[in-house]
Assembly symmetry: C2
């Protein structure tokens, strides 16, 4: 595919926009996998995905070398070899307890994707020269499967995770794939391990699913890996959505920036996480849960740790309730599945009560709203933290206390949104966002 | 160690400077390893290293749990199992050919560093949940050992690599260590594998040494790893210092930034590399060798690919020769060993002929110098690319041709500096930068 035709909306500007067109070239290359045709990438989402990507099956039949869930080989573990621990025990150690199986799939530039394999969970073998260990050629996703109160096992909007995973893989120069095939593989792992590891006796519980892709080519040198491994695990993960007293945030120091315009803050690549640990550890040592990452000379609020951040306040001008969160259009923040779901649910179900606003807003606006008593609630939103009420923001020696509702556990709107999401996840409400995997 | 006392020079400002103090706390914690006392981190180098760190042995005796090269265990491979390939064959594939052995050393937060082990080269076993595979908790170094024309095996300023490795590990929340112990381990690997893999019959050749550290704790969740692995390999690496026609650079697109103030561009962490591949691949597909990374609205020139960049021009005002390279003080670029050596050698040996200037300079200054015929030479400097003449810079449709000397292979000053470095590396000049490891 020629570079001139691959990015027609940039024609004549390719020197100006080398990387953006780079990402779009990669998306154009995999576009047959996305929408069954080769018409390119017009209508590209700010995060690099076509707008119609999330609308169900595309009917594409995998060709040789493409990721193909139907080729999955299955090697089952001895079902009696491991017992399922209780949740508290499973989450108490320094090691993630995974289920009996994992799915792996290898890729080579010369031959494409091999048949994926479901097999007993165990270590990976990587050469010391593997790309991922030196150059952070890695990306991942996080989603959960839920044991419903109706006894069924559900996922939550897995298509969004699969689509985002594709965008992340392309951003970090790993191979593309049809996101629907990834969805099928995720569902298969749940189907095999869910019944035992998330038993019907534990309704209201979840397992954490982690698809990841890494560059495995054993060659030193800064280059796109010619070999890669996709793997998916299912594991216990602690519930982090209700820390005692709410989540306390510490704003990022002036001399550190999590992500920046022209960077990769919107992609779920490893490179966004490791470098953030230094500030996070410092904040934790001082009693805070996460960093509220500020951006730019005006201190725009972007993300809370590895979650999106929402603040509910009364607008300065009108006094009306606004649920505010950072926008996606400058590609600084992650297009969170929970974030998106909050935005959509609040717009649909709270339309008469509050306005949802995706816009840049600064820490000074937060401080001002606090002084004027306009802050109503705040929460972090993400798969790991789910909907986690925020009770305090510490900024340069100033503490912003945020109301936590009558119970002291959560503001009312935070609780409402969280409740709706829970209902969908655990089957109290039948909803297209919560596809059933199995009732076993 | 309390956070208040750990960063006395920041006292009263800790909210403003959480991360900077974070890095300095970590350095303070390991400072007994660095200078034999506990007086803290005053006089911190812009890149986080104490200024006197590079001045030879500190006499610190490792305590239990500290990295200790004297505890090295040795398990030798069958010396006849593998034959040494010729250089061309070794560098022709898609896999790096390593020597017979590697050194590994494991660390746990509870017990510190175990005894390091020299053992046969082979795969690492990592759990799928290992920190490094998801969160890019990884850093590395690159240096070479040289078979001199006098038959001896030398390193080149390995103390600088070891010190920088420490800074990188702390920046990415991996465990500290005494850099001298790392140096000893590097030398040990050369001592064991050098005689066979870099035989006396190949004077003027080198092996590439790659110390790396990764977070191995098998637990999902964004946190500093509680387990880590240090490993060192020695391998073949292609010579990249003389591409036909010189190295051609393409400036970075406006919408992509390699590193940013407040980021981690100065640390040799994986997170600086993976995300840069997209633009680099695009540039390579268009016939360029590397990206010349610009920074900020004025397009300051920072690095050339994963190398530092030097330009030799006649100053606009005075017409005098200036060797210009980007400065270290805003922590955007890597404090390259080759870069530093070029700066120091040119200042020492070319003092009457040219001035060495470390300052911010923009691509517009380069374009202007080109228009006015003031550009004399340019080169990339790094361990992998050594001193690589640059013949062209492409910026937004404009091509800057850079003289390549009478031979068409290299400008005169580029060749001079390269020659001096070679002489030190290969033992034509006895110099403190080129410590001999063994004459076997």
């Amino acid at each position: 595919m020629s570079h001139t035709t691959a990015a027609p909306h940039r024609s004549g500007e390719q020197d100006v926009d080398l990387t953006s067109s780079g990402l779009e070239h990669r998306i154009a290359e995999v576009s047959p996998l996305l929408n069954g045709n080769t018409t390119g990438v017009n209508g590209v989402h700010p995060n690099g995905l076509t707008n119609d990507l999330t609308n169900g099956t595309n009917g594409h039949t995998p060709k040789s070398g493409e990721l193909d869930a139907s080729k999955l080989t299955i090697e089952l573990a001895d079902p009696n070899a491991r017992q399922v621990p209780d949740e508290a025990t499973a989450c108490s150690g320094t090691e993630t307890i995974c289920t009996d199986h994992m799915i792996t799939c290898t890729w080579k530039v010369s031959s494409g994707w091999e048949a994926p394999a479901l097999k007993p969970y165990g270590p990976l073998s990587l050469m010391p020269t593997a790309s991922v260990l030196h150059y952070a050629t890695e990306c991942f996703e996080g989603l959960k499967c839920f044991r419903g109160f109706d006894g069924k096992l559900r996922l939550f909007r897995p298509n969004l995770n699969a689509n985002r995973m594709l965008m992340s893989t392309l951003r970090i120069s790993l191979p593309g794939f049809n996101p629907e095939e990834l969805e099928k593989l995720i569902a298969k792992l749940v189907e095999v391990d869910g019944p035992k590891w998330l038993s019907k006796s534990r309704p209201g519980s979840f397992l954490y699913l982690r698809p990841a892709m890494i560059g495995t080519q054993p060659q030193l040198g800064v280059q796109a890996p010619k070999e890669a491994l996709l793997f998916i695990t299912a594991s216990f993960m602690p519930r982090m959505d209700a820390p005692a007293g709410g989540m306390k945030l510490h704003t990022s120091p002036e001399d550190q920036v999590r992500a920046w315009v022209g960077g990769f803050g919107y992609a779920k690549v490893g490179a966004n996480y490791g470098p953030s640990l230094l500030a996070t550890n410092e904040a934790r040592a001082r009693g805070f849960g996460q960093i509220l990452w500020l951006y730019g000379p005006n201190g725009e609020c972007t993300e809370a740790g590895a979650s999106n951040f929402f603040i509910l306040w009364r607008a300065k001008e009108t006094g009306k309730l606004q649920l505010v969160t950072a926008p996606l259009d400058d590609r600084l923040i992650l297009d969170g599945v929970t974030r998106r779901s909050c935005v959509e649910l609040a717009r649909e179900r709270l339309a008469g009560e509050l306005e949802v606003v995706e816009r840049k807003y600064t820490i000074d606006e937060v401080l001002e709203a606090d002084k004027e008593g306009r802050i109503v609630e705040a929460f972090a939103a993400g798969t790991a933290f789910f909907i986690c009420p925020v009770s305090l923001i510490h900024h340069r020696g100033v503490e912003v206390q945020i109301p936590m509702g009558k119970t002291g556990e959560s503001g009312m709107y935070t609780a409402k949104i969280k409740g709706w999401l829970k209902d969908i996840m655990y089957g109290n409400e039948q909803h297209p966002w919560g596809p059933v995997v199995t009732d076993q």
